[in-house]
């Protein structure tokens, strides 16, 4: 572990510092949006959005390596794909028909399929592993600036709409009766989820996004009575698991996304166990 801290301070390997900074930057967005995703029970919507971002990443790489167009970085390609799929998912889930599930599955797999095709058309060898399972150690300073901007927008919007999002998440019918534009709020929340997914994809990759989005909030949920404490707890847990996940992967030479996800699962299991023991003790003392 000491070698990890030494490496962090070593200017010859800046990527490790970038990785930790990226995790710290993104953690509040993970915690806040993750809390909304968990209390609204929409993790499968987030799953669909995350898999569709491969289309944007693939498009960006195809444009770059086949046509020499470099305007669209993989980060912003992922962002555009996430926003488009968030809008489609919002539209489909609003209709609430039998076909909602099918539309979401289509977004899920179509985005991934298009992405794989684009990658296949890209000349040279592109390793999709980094995008599927993440490699936080590949982040550039430009990516960090993009993450910082996105993080600020997500946090600002989530704070601005906090009372409305809370009311809609608790009872959207009542919010609608009170004249709230609940369709707009729900769509906005899904767009924010899409933006958060893009931050997550840089960190843990497409396949592992759901873990880092939902497990910190689910773990904090065992001990939170309010949405605010849930968000704070989830953000701290996201920060902790990202940091220790990176350290773990550095020390044992593991893929960083996998290290982070294993830490998140460990924290969730621990929280569940502690909660379970607490409940048992309480019951006994009441008996």
């Amino acid at each position: 572990m000491i070698e990890f801290f030494q490496a962090l301070a070593n200017p010859a390997v800046p990527f490790l510092l970038y990785a930790v900074l990226a995790g710290a930057l993104a953690a509040p967005a993970f915690g806040i949006i993750g809390s909304y995703v968990v209390v609204n029970r929409i993790s499968y919507l987030a799953g669909a959005i995350s898999h569709s971002v491969l289309a944007g990443i693939g498009l960006s790489l195809l444009l770059r390596h086949r046509f020499g167009i470099t305007v669209l970085t993989p980060f912003w390609g992922a962002f555009i794909a996430a926003i488009i799929s968030a809008l489609i998912v919002a539209w489909a889930s609003r209709k609430k028909t039998d076909r909602t599930d099918s539309v979401i599955s289509i977004v899920w797999s179509l985005g991934a399929a298009i992405g794989v095709i684009f990658l296949a058309w890209t000349p040279g060898f592109v390793d999709p592993m980094a995008y599927l399972f993440g490699n936080i150690l590949l982040l550039s300073p430009q990516d960090l600036i993009g993450m910082l901007i996105l993080d600020g927008v997500i946090l600002g919007t989530a704070l601005l709409f906090y009372p409305q999002f809370m009311a809609m998440s608790f009872d959207d019918e009542f919010a609608q009766v009170r004249g709230m534009p609940t369709d707009f709020h729900r769509t906005l929340l899904l767009v924010l989820t899409g933006a958060t997914v893009v931050l997550l994809v840089s960190t843990v990759g497409i396949v592992l996004v759901i873990t880092l989005l939902t497990l910190p909030a689910a773990a904090a949920g065992f001990f939170s009575r309010t949405l605010r404490s849930l968000m704070i707890g989830a953000s701290l847990i996201a920060l902790g698991v990202t940091f220790f996940g990176i350290a773990l992967s550095y020390v044992f030479d593991l893929p960083s996304g996998a290290g982070i996800v294993l830490c998140a699962i460990g924290v969730y299991s621990l929280a569940r166990a502690v909660h379970g023991i607490g409940v048992k003790l309480n019951l006994r003392s009441f008996a």
């Binding site: 009170r178 004249g179 949920g221």
Partner: protein, 254 residues
């Protein structure tokens, strides 16, 4: 589209004009006409599936009729509800029991006006007063999910009242709560009905029989009984007699 200003002296009326409503493939109401003054306490009764909740959703603007129109307080339902003139109390059992939210935050949501931004100081003051009025001030910081059914129902009543409505619409408020809480809630509603119009949807026929001003019977059709047209005996017959059969036989109107 008419945009009459909503003022204090708006008539507390519910008006249905040639109203037809159906869910996809399931007709509920056909060509209904009704014009009712809602002062005091109105009780909506009828069998499950007869359209009680559908009528409530039409009044709140959550459902739009395919034909005809609904007017509450002389204007469109969504507009009346959106300005806080109709307070809505749904059943407490509809909520996610694990949702992390404090009582005060639930009640504050009854003050939602703008599509973004925080609550005002006035919002918080009114919420505080209403919580005290309902004897909930000690529960304000508690988690909603930690409350008993009766307490939750009171919180939902508080949430509806902070919008300062002229009509309070309660959907089965005493269902699934214990006997004593139910009686306390009834007593509180009795104190309200002199200030605002109360509409109570229920299948509990004992509820408030002595103080009800009118009964609206809903079973694919809508019939109005003003209690002035019925003596005490008639009212009792209405409840004990032909409504007892509602569950099985449906409303026995001609």
């Amino acid at each position: 589209m008419e945009k009459a200003p909503i003022t204090d002296n708006h008539p507390t009326t519910l008006e249905l004009k040639n109203l037809s409503f159906s869910y996809p493939g399931v007709p509920v109401f056909q060509d209904i006409n009704l014009n009712v003054q809602l002062q005091g306490l109105s009780q909506v009764v009828g069998p499950n599936g007869g359209g009680k909740s559908t009528l409530a959703k039409l009044m709140l603007g959550l459902n739009d009729p395919q034909v005809g129109k609904v007017q509450v307080l002389g204007c469109e339902p969504a507009r009346a509800a959106g300005s806080g003139l109709i307070g809505y109390v749904p059943q407490h059992t509809l909520f996610d029991p694990h949702f992390p939210i404090r009582v005060v935050d639930v009640v504050l949501s009854g003050r939602l006006k703008r599509a973004w931004g925080p609550y005002s100081k006035e919002d918080r003051r009114i919420v505080q007063e209403t919580l005290e009025d309902l004897g909930l001030q000690n529960l304000a910081e508690r988690g909603f999910s930690a409350l008993s059914g009766g307490q939750r129902q009171r919180v939902l009543v508080a949430r509806a009242l902070v919008g300062q409505p002229k009509i309070l619409l309660l959907d089965e408020p005493t269902a699934n709560i214990d006997f004593e809480s139910a009686r306390n809630l009834e007593a509180y509603i009795r104190t309200l009905k002199d200030r605002i119009s109360v509409i109570l949807i229920t299948h509990d026929f004992d509820f408030l029989t002595s103080s009800v001003d009118r009964v609206i019977c809903v079973n694919r059709n809508i019939h109005l009984h003003e209690s002035g047209q019925l003596d005490a005996d008639g009212l009792r017959r209405l409840f004990s007699g032909h409504f007892h059969a509602l569950g099985e036989a449906g409303c026995q109107h001609d």
